[in-house]
Structures are given as structure tokens and as C-alpha cells.
């Protein structure tokens, strides 16, 4: 049996230098992602790249405000990611509502629904500020303090309660079935004729 703890520094180094990002623009901060990912600031220097599939992604960037409709998908996507996974929340909106503090369709406190590791200020944050947040996450990973995914497992009841309170019980099934009648609609008419 190998003692994996010996390799912990190496593994943590690999984790911190190879964070793959879920390609999910959840809000307006998505517009600052292209400069960050592409030639201008080139996050690939740190091995970060947007990954289309959540199954192999590590870092979830909540780019700005989150509407309940998106939050449902965020939660599902977040749960699809394999552990360990990290969440970076951009700007004011996930923190305290931002300019949408009184909007009926924007989440005010993201940490009630999924755990967040790092917050950055700005509306929207400049790429440099996002970089600073990523640097912070890297530091946290190195010291083993980025434990959002552990918290999600431990306090699952708390998060689930909040989610259910917001969306109503059984929201996953409901969302999945919502479109079925409309996908079928036309076929049915044809059969009747």
C-alpha cells in the first residue's frame, strides 16, 4: 500500500496548476472571460482552460448574477463535477445581490445554495481582479483550505433545504419534464388528422 500523503504536495501542485473551468457563462461577467482565456491574459499559462464538459472540470466561475432558472442548472452542473471542485464568485451580485438587490429574479446570496470558495469585488471585475481571485484559490488549494466541496457534502441538508425552499420540492424532475408536452405537441395534432 502506498502512502498517498507523501505525494500530497505533488498532487496539490497538479491540482492548482491544472484547473479546468466549466464553460458556463452564468452572467454578464462572461464577457471578461474571453480576454482572460485568450491571448491577452492567457490563463493557459497556468494550465487553465475552459472545458465544455462539467465531468472533467474543477473550477466553476459564477460570472456575476444568478437567476433562479440558471441556479437550477448551476446546481446540477456543480453536482456533476468530480471532487475536489472549487467555486469562484465574481463581483457583487452573488455576494449581496448587487444592482439587482430588489430584482424578483436574481439570487441574493449564492452561498445559501452552493458553497463558494472565493469572492472578488467589482462590477464587473477586471481580468486582473479575476486573476487575483484565481491566485487566491491556488493558494487555498496549496494549503488545503479550499474545502467548498467538503462543506457541500457535510451540510447537504442545509443547502438542499434552501434550494427546495426557493424552487419547490421536486424541482429537478419538474424542470426535466417541463418541455415534454411542447416537444410532442405537433406530432399529436398530426395523428389526430
Amino acid at each position: 500500500m502506498v502512502d498517498w500523503r507523501l505525494y500530497e504536495p505533488l498532487i496539490n501542485f497538479a491540482r492548482k496548476r491544472s484547473m479546468w473551468i466549466v464553460a458556463f457563462c452564468t452572467g454578464c461577467g462572461g464577457i471578461e472571460m474571453p480576454p482572460l482565456m485568450t491571448s491577452r491574459y492567457d490563463l493557459e499559462r497556468f494550465g487553465m482552460m475552459p472545458n465544455p464538459a462539467p465531468r472533467m472540470a474543477d473550477l466553476f466561475l459564477i460570472t456575476g448574477y444568478v437567476t433562479p432558472k440558471t441556479l437550477k442548472r448551476i446546481i446540477i452542473t456543480y453536482e456533476m463535477q468530480p471532487d475536489p471542485k472549487y467555486v469562484l464568485a465574481h463581483g457583487s451580485c452573488p455576494l449581496n445581490g448587487g444592482i439587482y438587490w430588489d430584482a424578483y429574479n436574481a439570487i441574493k446570496h449564492l452561498d445559501k445554495y452552493i458553497p463558494v470558495d472565493v469572492a472578488i469585488a467589482g462590477c464587473m471585475p477586471r481580468p486582473e481582479a479575476v486573476m487575483d481571485g484565481i491566485k487566491k484559490i491556488m493558494d487555498l488549494i496549496e494549503t488545503g483550505k479550499a474545502d467548498g466541496w467538503k462543506r457541500y457534502k457535510e451540510n447537504y441538508e442545509y443547502y438542499k433545504k434552501n434550494q427546495d425552499e426557493l424552487f419547490g420540492e421536486g424541482w429537478r424532475e419538474k424542470t426535466a419534464r417541463r418541455w415534454i408536452p411542447w416537444l410532442m405537441g405537433r406530432e399529436k395534432k398530426r395523428e389526430e388528422e
Binding site: S39, R40, Y41, D42, R45, A89, S92, L95, N96, G97, G98, I99, W101, D102, D111, P115, V116, D117, V118, A119, I120, A121, G122, C123, P125, R126, P127, E128, A129, M131, D132, G133, K135, K136, L140, K145, G148
Partner: protein
């Protein structure tokens, strides 16, 4: 469907010819210098008057609440501070959109802004307190030239005292009496009610975790 005075581009100018060989021209960039700015190792130049964090001249602020009225996000809350005659704005970066209309409307130019824009914290309640502050005077913020938020920590005490620890270790301490436009509970006569209100304030933070 004719419109007067529309200059329509000739079609051959709009069209292009497909080619197999031209794309290979772009390989010349293989040997050119990358355009990448290597943040965080390389400093980027921030424009002058970039709309970053606020500053507040505590002496000239007259507590008129113009900033609170114009704020689209209701990020500004008037705060009564011991020793100050008029309330001062407290700005919540969990709401602020950095539009700086508040700076524009300030009648005495007490509220200003600097270019500093970086504030990164771990998502812990005690660290998130940094997002909610009464802005410091400009020279205290300008001291730091790396575009970061000047505060390292905000310590809150039971009796409403608040201690700002700056990143260079210096401290800034004051006592919050209450919030709102009116002086909190006639300032002096009923300290009991005040403290009750204030006790409530740090509580939600502790309760949650």
C-alpha cells in the same frame, strides 16, 4: 423598397474569394512576440480616473444622503459615527456597481474614488466584512500603489466599535452609533436601545455558520 440617400456597397467589394493557400499566411505569427500580458507577474496600466473603490473626506462630508438617493443598488447607508456631527456613507461592495454617480452628485466633493479595484477574500463571514466599509480618506488609500483594497481586516466589537486594520498594519478605529438619516435614538438619552440595535447587527454573521 427604395430608400433615399443610402449608399449601397458594390457587391464585389463585399464578397471574398475562398482560397486554400491564404490561411497558411497566418503561420507567420509563430515567430512573432506574443501579445500576452503576463498577469499577475506583470503590472497592467490602469487608466487614470478608473472607477474603483471610494474614498471619503471625513471632514467635508456633510451627510446629505445625495449619494444614497442616487445609488442604483442602495449600496450606501448613512452611518452615525461617534464624534462626527453628520452621518457618513457606508458603502457595501456586495451591491456597489461602481457607477460612481454618488461621486458625481456629492455637493462638497467629499466622496471620491481611486483606481484601486482588487478586493479578494475567502468566502468566510469574517472576511466578507471587508466588503462593507465607511470609505477612508484618499491619502490613506493612495498609500498603497498596488491597486488593492487598503484594508486587511475589519474587527467589530460588541459595543459598536469598529477597527479597520490597514494592510501596512496601521489601525483606524471609530464607533458606529447607528444607521439612517436621523440621529440614532436622539444620540445620547437612550444608549440602551442603540446597543440593542447594534448587537443585532453582528449576530446574523455568526448565526449563519
Amino acid at each position: 423598397m427604395k430608400m433615399e440617400s443610402v449608399k449601397i456597397a458594390p457587391e464585389e467589394k463585399v464578397r471574398k474569394k475562398p482560397s486554400f493557400l491564404k490561411p497558411w499566411m497566418s503561420l507567420k505569427y509563430l515567430f512573432k512576440k506574443p501579445v500576452t500580458i503576463k498577469i499577475p507577474y506583470e503590472e497592467t496600466q490602469i487608466a487614470e480616473k478608473y472607477r474603483g473603490f471610494h474614498t471619503l473626506n471625513w471632514k467635508t462630508c456633510i451627510g446629505c444622503n445625495m449619494c444614497g438617493q442616487i445609488c442604483p443598488a442602495r449600496a450606501i447607508e448613512m452611518t452615525w459615527i461617534e464624534g462626527e456631527k453628520r452621518p457618513h456613507p457606508k458603502i457595501d461592495y456586495g451591491r456597489c456597481t461602481f457607477c460612481q454617480f454618488c461621486v458625481d452628485v456629492c455637493p462638497t466633493n467629499a466622496l471620491g474614488h481611486v483606481e484601486h479595484y482588487i478586493l479578494t477574500t475567502e468566502w468566510k463571514d469574517e472576511e466578507l466584512e471587508l466588503f462593507d466599509w465607511v470609505p477612508l480618506p484618499e491619502e490613506m488609500v493612495r498609500k498603497f500603489s498596488d491597486y488593492r483594497h487598503p484594508l486587511a481586516k475589519i474587527e467589530k466589537y460588541e459595543d459598536g466599535r469598529v477597527k479597520y486594520v490597514l494592510r501596512d498594519g496601521s489601525e483606524f478605529e471609530f464607533k458606529i452609533l447607528g444607521y439612517g438619516l436621523k440621529p440614532p435614538a436622539a444620540a445620547k438619552p437612550k444608549p440602551a436601545a442603540k446597543s440593542a440595535e447594534k448587537k443585532e447587527e453582528p449576530n446574523p454573521g455568526e448565526k449563519k455558520e
